[in-house]
Symmetry: C2
Subunit: 410 residues, 2 copies
């Protein structure tokens, strides 16, 4: 029987009594507490450990921002509040979420190529930094600021001429809907400063989900160089530079964790030898997936075990309505298996080749293809790892009327 | 400048005063009534016209079911209620929606490979027909029926050995998570009948989104032949046969509408010469996308017009959070343009090459690539057609905190 590997299970998960444990608690206990499957479980310990690893590796000079789009669950945002320095939002809806968590708007910056006027007004009134994506958006922001009598806090998002090599999604290099082409940044910056904006500096985001430390190191070097050049051209120092992120996590067979130590060493070197123009600039990295992705697990229950033409299917009550990316339908061309396990038989001998599928009436609804698992049947619990980022909110939860999954932070 | 064609705009849309009109009302008027963009507009007239076309083409002997998963908006379900014969649901959530529309559960059938016990109980208690997907599900249904003192109404979903050629999604042929392999159907049918289920017949669904009338005609012939053979093997007549659907709509450049007349003629021939075993069998087709897809339009507003390295972007307040399939991220390998137009300049001369994108911070958020459009700017309204099926509920509406689109039936 042909088999396909599953992705690597992240560090930090253990078996207790033959079950997957998250934050020291068994899967069955967590499901009982939630009262149902499917269920996303996010681990406080793993969220904290990831931030601690970053703090240990990175220079103190470089702050950490959390891009809440990766996981805007209220308990996750509140847990991250004291752990990180800043928060990146992508809509007024996300601004409301930071407000609900009591986060000072001065710590919040707002990026996104299609900010509506009402969103700009809410952000300007609240004192959020706008990562401005175009000359048109800058004009609208200045006009709104004038109208409501408050100077907008404006940084400019730069579309650099280089990209983050090997990243899952490129956001720089060539024509893009994001940011302002680098060569047009100085004149726009001078204009917004002249027209009374509170100048907040630059945002340079080049890509996401890169697993190569070398690529990230090279890109961060380019980011600092470009920021210094632009600062010189603008003729005013940059109060802040959001250096972007792009730190990836291993999802698929063969993926290796990012070499954080190497990145940290390189950034120590960069900081020790900062270009003159950036001497007084506040620096930060913007991370989403890397902070929260591996700290989350999606649990669903086996509803049926069936054979069809010699193939065994485990049909679960979960599916792509909560795990679109794991099903292979979000930004991937060739479907590969995420890290998946039988949570109720975690660590048991794996000798059963199964297709694990969701409950939806579509052949797209796949959680693991031809995976070798411990033998499981009706009632067993399946775990999909790397579910802490771009899971619950990045999936079509209204599809087929099953509704959203439960979510809990433990 | 390299350009890419957009898909064919469906019939039934006109320009009034230089604007796209839906149901005789201008886009700007509809947006004003909804109070905002993004907005899905569904046309009563076009829904009705499609059903009328089907009734005219098909033999009276073949009923029409609406698979509400394609568009479960309450007003759409209520509008379809008197127009079609039956309703197919995929979850207990969808059952609740049919109940809210006052639909007799006797007209409802429930398919889906992962029906939970609580869903089965609700359906059995309500008198819904279960399209049973496995021996295990049949056993659970019978046990629940015994417990609550009500015989479950059971049809068996068949996994046939043939598939619908050229369909966008195949649901038959080889190993599948859907239904019961054809060779195992007779023994299971005999068992459920012997154990006291109310026998409802067979459900044979072979694929979806096919544009070839020949393929559909061939498949429907195979479906009738298989149903007759299975009926003979079971030794009991089939009260009902759900023949599936698979009728596709044109989305992409070069796609041609389905030749409904040819399908109708062939079905007239099949019905005139039905196998003996099916003489008294109620027949129906199950359609979703074909009934509602072309009757819906997604309207969003241009928030920014920007240039990057010589490419023009129209950034809208819409995006893949409402139009996942149109963005190319749901079941497609190579992205092609859906039918897209500038609704506020409908029919105007097209001489501007633009990338139309959504408001999300991801390069996946594309609505039209390198499309030739009338020149549009901030405030103009973009229309994405073929938005009546698998749009609002099949997209990650919580992604980045923008929330769902408005929806209206006109």
């Amino acid at each position: 029987m042909k088999t396909k590997p599953v992705g690597p299970i992240p560090a930090g998960y253990e078996a207790i009594g033959g079950e997957l444990a998250i934050g020291g608690r068994r899967a069955s206990e967590l499901v009982a507490e939630a009262g149902r499957t499917p269920l996303f479980v996010y681990s406080r310990d793993l969220l904290g450990a990831r931030v601690a690893d970053l703090r240990a590796a990175l220079p103190d000079r470089i702050g950490l921002n959390f891009a809440i789009k990766a996981n805007p669950h209220p308990d996750v945002i509140s847990h991250m509040e004291p752990l990180v320095d800043g928060f990146d939002i992508a809509s007024s809806g996300e601004f409301t979420m930071t407000q609900a968590a009591g986060i000072d708007p001065a710590r919040v910056s707002f990026a996104g190529p299609g900010k509506r006027d009402d969103e700009l007004e809410l952000a300007i009134a609240g004192g959020v930094t706008l990562n401005c994506e175009s000359a048109g958006e800058a004009e609208r922001s200045l006009a709104i600021g004038q109208r409501i009598g408050k100077a907008p806090r404006i940084a400019i998002r730069v579309n650099p001429s280089f990209e983050l090599k090997g990243s899952g999604m490129k956001m720089g290099g060539g024509a893009k809907q994001f940011g302002v082409d680098a060569d047009k940044v100085p004149s726009l910056a001078k204009q917004v400063i002249a027209e009374g904006a509170e100048w907040r500096g630059l945002h340079i985001f080049t890509g996401s989900q890169a697993l190569s430390a070398d690529a990230i190191i090279e890109t961060q070097g380019n980011v600092l160089k470009l920021a210094a050049e632009l600062s010189d051209s603008i003729g005013t120092m940059l109060p802040k530079l959001n250096m972007g992120g792009g730190f990836g996590i291993p999802y698929f067979p063969g993926d290796e964790p990012l070499d954080l130590k190497a990145i940290g060493q390189a950034l120590h070197g960069y900081v020790a030898d900062l270009p003159e123009a950036l001497t007084n600039t506040e620096l930060c990295l913007e991370l989403g997936r890397y902070l929260v992705g591996e700290a989350g697990v999606y649990l669903c229950r086996v509803i049926d075990r069936k054979e069809s033409h010699g193939t065994t299917y485990l049909v679960t009550d979960g599916g792509l309505h909560h795990q679109l990316a794991a099903s292979g339908n979000f930004g991937t061309v060739v479907r590969r298996n995420y890290p998946v396990a039988i949570a109720s038989k975690f660590g048991a001998e794996a000798d059963d080749v199964v297709n694990i599928v969701g409950c939806l009436c579509t052949p797209l609804d796949r959680l693991a293809d031809q995976a070798i698992m411990p033998r499981a049947g009706v009632g067993d619990i399946v775990a999909v790892f790397c579910a802490g980022a771009y899971g619950a909110t990045s999936s079509p939860s209204a599809f087929l009327g099953h509704g959203p999954a439960a979510e809990m932070l433990v």
